[in-house]
Amino acid sequence: MDEFLTNLPVFREAIWQTFYIVSISVVAGGLLGLGLGLVLYATRPGSLMSNRAVFITVNILVNIVRPIPFVIFLTAIQPLMLVTIGTTIGTNAVTFALTLAAAFAVSRIIEQNLLAVEPGVIEAARAAGARPISILLTVIVPEALGPVILGYTFIFVGVVDMSAQAGLFGGGGLGDFAVTYGSQRYNWPVVYITVAVIIVIVQAGQFLGNALARKALRR
């Protein structure tokens, strides 16, 4: 406990880092993933803009990225990181990598949820002469909004979890704090407190997600 108090500034810093990493990854990765997910959905055989070549390419790309162990993924994209953000370590590097990882995960969630949209409403939009991209964004996504919101919430929780690996690359954050100052030192109070904070953040996010989803579903 004493040790926890002496580490208080680090803890505060860790909370801030977690917020930084998670919020940017979820927002940026969420948008990127939405795009990818729409491509996956719209280009699949029989869909709105079905295009075998694009579908197969993106499908395989997503499958290549998602299962790669995070350490290797981060190492693999280091050249890309150097070009874009100029560093391969630290909070920004981890955020960059997590953003990509989140995007690929989000794309699958989006794809799944959009597939549940009833074909009839898509026909109604087509019959009105709308463009496919507009049908996607103004009809299909809104129709699937409830599940999509829950999907984002799911990814949010996953990103909080993955952000624990930020420590590997000097990204800091609560997960790293819990491990470095807690479990690695067998300092359980630190673990409890930190994990409690993580859980509070997640509960708040999930609560918000549930509430928004309920609003979108109207049931």
């Binding site: 370590i89 690359f169 491990v179």
Partner: protein
């Protein structure tokens, strides 16, 4: 311990570098000389092999130095014992851009490992190199929060990542554990500073075979610890560490006494 199908005894040893070829040499020798089947259990996370040993899921482990074990025993309230020494590894500070510590510009980024033990030792190295000063002169338990004055920016990374950060240019210098440095093929000329493995202050950093207290006199285990110093194995160890490992044979009793001393220091440091 339990009997294998061929009546040979099986001994599970927890390690963190099972990929190093010398462990294969070692296991073959154990079978040949001692009729012991060595099963290596590899851990990527240092926090696991000691509890696993305590829980009797391992018979021995070999991944830590006395300092680490003392820390574990004190914080986890355990009583694991060293039964043989292996080697001391210096902890060098590398730089690819600069040839001397003094060349490092102010606020240059320096990477050190982020696990508790390597972090403290890395900070002590940086202090010795004149890059930081630590609260109360620093201990084997210092962390980045104890940095009082600094000439450089200290960033902590996973021990396996400091070499990569150095190579990508993300940091100006990095503390790199010798095994990772070897794998990353960092040239020896890139070492700008390192602690002296032969010094008394390095004594707690001697790596050890560890067993449960009740097994500390087990004949087989002691023989297994000894087997590490077979020339064939030692040669492999040196190959795996670019020849910088300082192999040590220290009697078990001496190691155990040293452990007690360090544990006392650890208890004191916790207050």
């Amino acid at each position: 311990t339990r009997d294998g199908a061929d009546d040979a005894q099986t001994v599970r040893i927890g390690v963190a570098d099972a990929a190093s070829p010398y462990w294969k040499t070692y296991a073959d020798l154990a079978k040949e000389r001692l009729d012991v089947n060595v099963t290596l259990v590899n851990f990527n996370d240092y926090s696991q092999p000691n509890p696993a040993l305590k829980e009797k899921q391992l018979e021995l482990n070999q991944f830590q130095h006395i300092q680490y074990l003392a820390n574990y025993n004190v914080t986890a309230g355990d009583d694991l014992q060293p039964i043989g020494a292996t080697a001391v590894y210096p902890l060098p500070l590398y730089s690819l851009k600069f040839t001397a510590v003094t060349d490092l510009p102010a606020n240059a980024k320096v990477a050190i490992p982020n696990d508790a033990i390597n972090q403290a030792r890395g900070l002590l190295v940086l202090q010795a190199a004149g890059l930081v000063t630590l609260k109360n002169g620093g201990t084997a338990f210092s962390s980045t929060t104890d940095v009082e004055t600094k000439k450089v920016d200290v960033v902590t990374l996973d021990a396996s990542q400091t070499a990569g950060a150095l190579q990508s240019g993300s940091v100006a210098a990095a503390i790199v554990n010798i095994n990772y440095a070897t794998n990353a093929k960092l040239p020896k000329t890139a070492v700008v500073f390192q602690d002296d493995p032969a010094s008394a202050s390095a004594a707690p950093y001697v790596n050890i075979f560890t067993a449960r207290a009740e097994d500390k006199d087990n004949e087989t285990y002691l023989k297994l610890a000894e087997l590490y110093h077979d020339p064939a194995v030692e040669k492999g160890v040196q190959e795996a560490n670019s020849g910088v490992a300082v192999l040590r044979t220290v009697p078990a009793a001496e190691l155990q006494a040293l452990l007690t001393t360090v544990q006392d220091q650890a208890v004191a440091a916790q207050k």
